[in-house]
């Protein structure tokens, strides 16, 4: 039998887009340049200030490993808890209580406007006693901080999906709730969940106020402590952290986008999930 090779389907949407990206108008270049200088100049100054030797000494400072490891654990735990809480809630609200979407959006924005001190006091009021002296308390606080970003990312992902029709299609084919969530909804939310993850990690690795108020020596707190005694090392550590965080986020974004391209799921970006194809229906 002769093998029939399918030519890969043309993707008319992306080809012109890529071409357009090649020739940006001059004023966009100007804006890009100004923004670039605004961000890069301080970095360059910091780089110069710290000097090469400071980078080597960062790793030998006391508390470096502990602080970094604490922050990494916090990032992981916060991401897991936030996703476990927000994904089912958001899916449920989309499917069953669409009228509450507005309300949920309002609620999830609260952590941004409420001062951290109030949040800390609030969490202390409700947190079980066994958590109180452990880092997990901080993770709980971070979950609250992360909620607005996670909700928005997941909500955007769901909007692009037509969850109702997909759920009903799965139902008519014999899938129960578990199978629908696991095999249909979650795989299609992967991009949105990755976006949420990127945001949460960035948030946790950079958060200072809560950690220092709660007296935990997370990586940002550790860096600031150094500020007083050894400014060069502190700056070197900050830059190193910035660079490593950036690499991690880029890797996640890149992997997510590659996966999403394959299934037409969209692009992982920091603030929204942009579909590459036009959603239909609803």
């Amino acid at each position: 039998m002769a093998a029939v090779t399918q030519a890969p389907p043309a993707r008319p949407a992306s080809a012109p887009a890529r071409a357009r990206r090649g020739r940006l108008p001059a004023w966009r270049w100007a804006i890009l340049a100004v923004a670039g200088i605004y961000f890069l100049l301080p970095l360059y100054a910091a780089l110069r200030f710290a000097g090469i030797k400071a980078y080597g000494s960062v790793f030998s400072r006391t508390g470096f490993t502990d602080a970094l490891w604490l922050s990494v654990r916090l990032a992981i735990v916060t991401t897991l808890i936030t996703l476990a809480l927000m994904v089912p809630t958001t899916v449920y609200v989309h499917l069953r209580l669409p009228r509450l979407r507005r309300l949920l959006e309002g609620i999830t924005i609260l952590p941004i406007v409420i001062p951290p001190v109030v949040l800390i006091v609030g969490v202390l009021q409700v947190a079980p006693g066994s958590l109180k002296a452990t880092p997990w308390l901080l993770a709980l606080e971070y979950v609250i901080l992360a909620m607005p970003f996670a909700y928005r990312a997941i909500d955007t992902g769901l909007r692009a999906l037509d969850v109702k029709t997909l759920t009903e299609a799965a139902g008519s084919l014999g899938a129960g709730w578990g199978a629908t969530l696991w095999r249909v909804i979650l795989p299609n939310l992967r991009t949105a969940m990755l976006s949420a993850t990127v945001l949460i990690i960035a948030l946790v690795l950079g958060e200072f106020t809560m950690a220092s108020l709660d007296l935990y020596e997370t990586f940002p707190v550790w860096i600031v402590q150094f500020d007083q005694t050894d400014a060069a090392t502190s700056v070197a550590a900050s830059l190193g952290a910035l660079f490593v965080t950036w690499i991690v986020l880029m890797l996640i974004t890149w992997a997510g986008t590659r996966q999403a391209r394959r299934t037409g799921g969209g692009e992982v970006t920091l603030f929204t999930v942009a579909r590459t194809d036009t959603p239909t229906g609803s």
């Binding site: 029939v4 399918q6 389907p9 999906l161 037509d162 029709t165 997909l166 009903e168 299609a169 799965a170 139902g171 008519s172 084919l173 014999g174 899938a175 129960g176 199978a179 095999r183 249909v184 795989p187 299609n188 992967r190 394959r262 299934t263 037409g264 799921g265 194809d277 239909t280 229906g281 609803s282």
Partner: protein
């Protein structure tokens, strides 16, 4: 395209348990009888369904036709189990399925919007229902491939939905619904998002498949041409009820109500006078028999006639004036104004229409055959057709 004998036959029947001996190729499941009994459903103040009843014979394709908002989708969703009726029952093979959740009703559904799972290939989409039924991997793949072949998409098996055209996606959705050998196939305007040419092709394909597999099918549409060309019987719905259920030719020639008459095909209203007794009506200077079963009282009425039912001849002293003329190939549609008040559209063989340019005076006459009669309606009551 080469198809071998296996693919020409109906697909083999899938049983819930893996490892059984394969059923004969022609052994598609017998369609089930479906009965809708007095279904009602309200959404707040809106009565979406108002005591709808319908019996569908095994293997039959019934199309539900009606204007937007008349309750077609609601009826379908109640049969599928996505929506519960406030009152009434759905019987499948004589058994009430009201308490059974959608996932265990064994119904194949094709949606109006694209509903393929974006994360799966076409093949995995089709295989999904079988996977849920715990059909083993090899058998499942083979069966899904057969169905894709059946809808002519074997070559696209490994593509994801976003790589398929709208028509291809709906064909995959159809294959997916058929893969579970549904007792009933439910289609909710599956073609309405597609362009006209694809729509015609696909409806022929769906009909051929449905007849070959003998699956009882309920097809919702608001496209009358689609309904008339595909269905064994067409049910015309209005405000949550069925006005008439009949075979397409009957629906066209003997509509039960004025609503059906005007919703299906083009219908002219010509003013007339119904004689006492209601059996004869006078219009356009002729007196003819009226079909019985009408709702009109003796006195002024409207006579309902199809464009091909009226005859028209060029005549200097005629009763009508030609206002427009549209060439349609073999026939030409001539629009006339009768006695300066009633507009009528009449189909005339194109050769004859040459003598009837706009502005010409013509003589319009009623057919000798019995005509439909409806209560006189003010011009402002004209229905907004979907």
């Amino acid at each position: 395209m080469a198809t071998d004998a296996t693919h020409d036959a109906a697909p083999a029947r899938i049983s819930g348990a893996a490892g059984q001996s394969p059923a004969p190729a022609a052994g598609a499941r017998e369609g089930a009888a479906v009965s809708l009994r007095g279904l009602s459903r309200s959404f707040g103040q809106v009565r979406a369904l108002d005591g709808m009843s319908l019996d569908i014979a095994p293997g039959e394709l019934v199309a539900l036709l009606g204007p937007s908002g008349c309750g077609k989708t609601t009826a379908l969703r109640i049969v599928a189990g996505f929506e519960a009726a406030d009152a009434g029952q759905v019987l499948i093979s004589g058994k009430d399925v009201s308490g059974i959740p959608a996932a265990r009703r064994d119904m194949g559904m094709v949606f109006q919007s694209y509903s393929l799972f974006p994360n799966m290939t076409a093949l995995d989409n089709v295989a999904f229902g079988l996977r849920m039924r715990k059909v083993g991997g090899e058998r499942r793949k083979q069966r899904a491939a057969e169905l894709l072949e059946l809808v002519g998409l074997a070559a696209q098996a490994r593509q994801h939905p976003h790589q398929l055209s709208g028509g291809q996606q709906q064909r995959v959705a159809l294959a997916r619904a058929l893969a579970i050998e549904p007792r009933v196939l439910l289609l909710d305007e599956p073609l309405s998002a597609l362009d006209a040419q694809v729509r015609v092709q696909l409806r022929e394909q769906i009909r051929a498949l449905q007849q070959r597999l003998g699956t009882t099918t309920l097809f919702v549409t608001h496209d009358q041409e689609e309904a008339l060309s595909m269905a064994d019987r067409v049910g015309v719905m209005r405000a949550g009820r069925l006005e008439q259920v009949a075979e397409p030719p009957v629906l066209y020639s003997r509509p039960a109500t004025a609503f059906v008459a005007e919703f299906v095909g083009t219908m002219n209203r010509v003013p007339g006078e119904l004689a006492a007794g209601g059996a004869r009506v006078t219009a356009l200077g002729a007196t003819v028999a009226a079909h019985d079963g009408h709702e009109a009282a003796p006195g002024p009425v409207d006579v309902l006639v199809r464009p091909e039912g009226l005859s028209v001849t060029a005549a200097g002293d005629g009763n009508a004036i030609v206002t427009a003329r549209t060439f349609r190939g073999a026939v030409t549609r001539v629009t006339v104004l009768i006695s300066g008040q009633a507009e009528a559209r009449i189909d005339v063989p194109s050769a004859e229409a040459a003598a009837m340019p706009p502005g010409a005076t013509v003589q319009v006459t009623l057919p000798a055959a019995p005509v439909l009669v409806a209560p006189r309606r003010a011009a402002s009551d004209a229905p907004a057709l979907a």
